[in-house]
């Protein structure tokens, strides 16, 4: 019953996303015929194109035709690429997921690590540095960070590639190495601001956890400080971070658009940027649809991970004021 309700909710959300994007695409000035036929086409040729694409039908009819297509998995054909939108997304999505994963990995590793260190060294200059640095870093928008990374890499790391993903004719570990090298710059640009957020969240959550009674009890029982921090306190501190990852995914997609344009990374962020400039309506709607589906799936995955980490959630019990999950 709960699953059916969740699926129904997801379906409604998806329809809302499609309706919103469809409306925005049709409100934006610009005729796809300019992209498809060029300026040399006559008005008659443009009218024929509009008729062929169904663009001369009433908007509600166009919308329901689109919904019918989406239900059958048909995302339409890109006007710019002249190929099925689903094929283009299949080619580009892995690059974006790779970039987001690398960005997240950097952000979580550096952010959580800095937060732990700051909390472990609470009431020392280390905590202050982590607190201030995280605040400064997460206030920076991706395009600023991206350009700074670009300039710094060009000036001090001339061996680091800053554009693209590398040639596709390499095989095996050579190909992996090339992609990893190309990934460093954009992943840094995407992950730095997020690292600041996670550092601040981890610091706050760890400080709260380390001041709980159970920690005093564990210290009194002779557990090592390392074990207390890394096993008991961290597990509780991670809960809000896990939630944030699920919420953050949409911002990461948005950040990926900017980062991919700056670094010419061939993902769906670049795709949507070009699609909007070209008024490639099938491509725009298709990409937003897929991103919406992915965001919902990731949120579901987040809920599952959260439940695994916090037995109270999986058992449906309410949180105890005294009792974290540190009973193991």
């Amino acid at each position: 019953m709960r699953i059916a309700a969740s699926l129904a909710q997801m379906a409604m959300l998806l329809m809302f996303v499609v309706l919103t994007v469809f409306t925005l695409v049709h409100m934006a000035p610009g005729d796809p015929a300019n992209l498809y036929l060029g300026l040399g086409a006559t008005n008659e040729q443009v009218a024929a194109f509009h008729h062929q694409m169904g663009m001369d039908r009433p908007l509600p009819e166009q919308f329901f035709t689109l919904l019918r297509q989406l239900l059958t998995g048909d995302l339409g054909t890109s006007l710019a690429y002249r190929m099925p939108v689903i094929d283009i997304i299949s080619q580009k999505l892995p690059a974006t997921l790779m970039l987001m994963a690398a960005g997240y990995l950097f952000a979580l590793t550096v952010g959580i690590g800095a937060g732990i260190i700051g909390a472990w060294r609470q009431d020392t200059p280390v905590e202050t540095v982590v607190r201030v640095a995280s605040g400064l870093v997460y206030a920076q928008p991706e395009f600023i960070v991206g350009i700074v990374v670009l300039v710094m890499a060009t000036t001090y790391l001339p061996w680091l590639p800053i554009v693209g993903m590398g040639a596709s004719d390499e095989k095996g570990w050579a190909a992996v190495g090339t992609v990893v090298l190309h990934l460093i710059g954009p992943a840094l640009a995407l992950g730095i601001a997020r690292a600041g957020i996670y550092a601040r969240m981890t610091l706050t959550a760890m400080l709260t956890a380390l001041n709980q009674d159970y920690v005093v009890a564990h210290r009194a029982a002779g557990f090592s400080e390392r074990r207390i921090v890394l096993v008991y306190a961290l597990r509780n501190a991670l809960l809000p971070i896990i939630t944030t990852i699920g919420i953050e995914i949409r911002f990461l997609f948005a950040g990926a658009v900017i980062t991919e344009v700056i670094f010419s990374w061939p993902g769906i962020g670049r795709l949507i940027f070009d699609g909007i400039l070209n008024r490639d309506a099938p491509l725009i709607i298709g990409v937003f649809f897929i991103v919406a589906v992915l965001t919902m799936l990731i949120n579901v995955a987040t809920d599952i991970v959260y439940a695994l980490l916090d037995p109270r959630v999986s058992k449906g019990t309410r949180a105890s004021t005294a009792g974290p999950a540190a009973t193991s």
Binding site: P29, D31, L37, L39, A41, T154, P158, I162, D169, R270
Partner: protein, 549 residues
């Protein structure tokens, strides 16, 4: 036509001892005397060295590499290295044979006979034949693409023998149309395209041609790698490979160039003026100005909806006043620091038909004020005579030019509201809009104005409304003169015809022309013989470029 003008033209030619080639060369040197420095500032090419890969930073992936499906300017520098046409504007600006070795036309220009080069092979090894030419011309004629209009009068195309093809027209058609720069003017292999859906042919992203370079590898949105075609019918490339690296913005491309990750940048229309100037001064780089086919111009909206909303547009005195109020020299030489070469008239300055004796209205705000008073547009209490608008899209320098023009016009009482948008929105709202959307008073536009006078026709011929001639210019004499100029075989007479067109458009102040602009090719010093890339910015081939060690 104007006999005085004709005689003056002939007298000038004799006085200066100029033939057409010399005239073209002199114009080219004058063009290159801009911020790129004189042509002599480039290194002497030296002896060509074979080998190496040239990485060219390029602004974007055209996505479709088949001019029969889609054509756009970003496609041409890549495709011109892979495919061939029947004729070509060579690096000296001369009409020369590409796939055609020679051609003949009778005086009435109603047919043309091409003798094709022998022994040419497609990149897949198959022989190039007359059937490829016949199929290509017949196919493109049925499309809505630009070259179809150029050969609209074609009634027949047939093989006379294995190497000769004859094209027949119902109306005079000069040979130069077969050198038309656009992507739809291309000869494609019939054996790979005929009978298949053009729109979905996999060769749209892996074209086969007869050009100096073969398609080697395509990394979508990242790069295109071309390799030498050892069987090319012209100068076989010195480079082993030519890689176009797609970089969506000029800033990143400049960083890549300065760090040595790429060797050259080309065709970046968002290259800032300050960037061009600083790159010009970089001792590690060469800047090669290439003749521009593009003229920046301020257009008035002569369409019915434009005239209905902005009645002042119909008064030539107001348009003259606007021309007098704009200090074009300050804009081009100081604000744009030479990135736009001042010119006046519909044709590019390096176009042989450009008439430098037809001068722009002098910068004279007093005269502008007098004309506006005469036209009945007195200043109101707030000093404003006319409230109007100017639409533009960011291009080389327009973000500097548009506010400067608004300021200059403001000083004579014309208050200008600036409107900017991306390219598609600009077209929809300000240039092409149907049903009253297109009522913006003025718009910045660029127009292709070379290599021939006919290439400029869509901007001013009333029969090209509303899409190419978006500002709605409609002067029957101009239409008639374009028809005459197209088919006039005598070069002097043809120049006189186009001079007359320039005079009419200038007298009517149909546009306020600023000048010609071309994003320069900027390359590392090791890239040699940059001047061989092409005479015009829309016609570029890299087969004679080489890399020094």
């Amino acid at each position: 036509m104007n006999n005085d003008l004709k005689h003056r033209l002939m007298a000038d030619m004799y006085d200066l001892g100029l033939g057409r080639r010399e005239f073209v060369a002199a114009s080219t040197l004058a063009m290159l005397g801009g911020i790129g420095g004189p042509a002599g500032a480039q290194q002497a090419p030296g002896k060509p060295v074979k080998g190496g890969n040239l990485n060219v930073g390029y602004p974007g992936d055209p996505k479709i590499y088949n001019g029969f499906v889609y054509e756009n300017i970003p496609q041409y520098p890549i495709m011109h290295n892979v495919v061939s046409k029947l004729l070509w504007w060579d690096a000296k600006g001369e009409l020369s044979g590409d796939l055609a070795e020679k051609w003949q036309q009778p005086a009435d220009l109603k047919e043309i006979t091409f003798t094709l080069r022998r022994g040419v092979k497609w990149h897949d090894g198959q022989p190039f034949t007359v059937e490829d030419v016949i199929w290509s011309l017949q196919t493109v004629q049925k499309t809505p693409l630009s070259f179809a209009k150029y050969i609209a009068a074609m009634t027949d195309v047939r093989a006379l023998d294995a190497n000769t093809v004859k094209v027949t027209f119902s109306a005079p058609t000069p040979a130069s149309v077969f050198a038309y720069y656009a992507g739809s003017n291309v000869i494609l292999p019939k054996h790979l395209y005929a009978g298949k859906d053009l729109q979905t042919n996999p060769l749209n992203t892996a074209p086969i041609g007869t050009g100096p370079f073969k398609w080697k590898q395509y990394n979508r949105d990242q790069s295109v790698v071309l390799e030498r075609n050892p069987n090319y019918h012209g100068v076989v490339p010195y480079l082993d490979t030519l890689t176009f690296v797609f970089t969506p913005n000029a800033s990143t491309a400049i960083l890549q160039l300065q760090s040595g990750k790429i060797d050259m940048i080309s065709n970046f229309r968002d290259l800032g003026i300050n960037d061009i100037v600083s790159l010009t001064k970089d001792p590690k780089l060469n800047v090669a100005r290439i003749n521009s086919t593009v003229v920046q111009r301020l257009c008035f909206n002569f369409r019915p909806e434009g005239l209905a909303k902005h009645k002042w547009i119909a008064d030539v005195r107001v348009r003259q006043a606007i021309a007098h109020a704009i200090d074009r020299d300050t804009i081009c030489n100081k604000l744009l620091r030479g990135a736009v070469q001042p010119s006046w008239g519909p044709f590019a300055k390096a176009n042989p038909i450009y008439d430098s004796r037809i001068e722009a209205p002098k910068f004279d705000p007093a005269r502008a004020n007098a004309l506006l008073d005469e036209a009945g547009y007195k200043r109101g209490g707030d000093g404003v005579r006319i409230n109007t608008e100017l639409a533009y899209i960011p291009h080389v320098g327009t973000d500097v030019t548009a506010p400067a023009i608004a300021d200059m016009l403001g000083k004579v009482g014309i208050k200008v509201n600036l409107l900017t948008a991306d390219y598609q929105a600009y077209l929809a709202k300000y240039w092409l809009g149907p049903n009253g959307q297109g009522d913006t008073a003025m718009a910045f536009n660029i127009g292709i104005t070379a290599p021939t006078g006919d290439d400029c026709r869509p901007n001013y011929d009333s029969r090209y409304q509303p899409r190419n001639n978006g500002s709605g210019v409609s002067i029957p004499d101009v239409d008639r003169l374009f028809d005459l100029g197209r088919v006039e075989p005598d070069a002097l007479k043809q120049r006189a015809i186009y001079s007359r067109i320039t005079q009419i458009l200038s007298d009517q102040v149909v546009n306020v022309w600023l000048g010609t602009t071309a994003p320069p090719n900027i390359a590392a010093k090791k890239v040699r013989n940059l001047g061989s890339i092409g005479y015009w910015d829309v016609n570029q081939r890299f087969n004679e470029v080489w890399l020094s060690s």
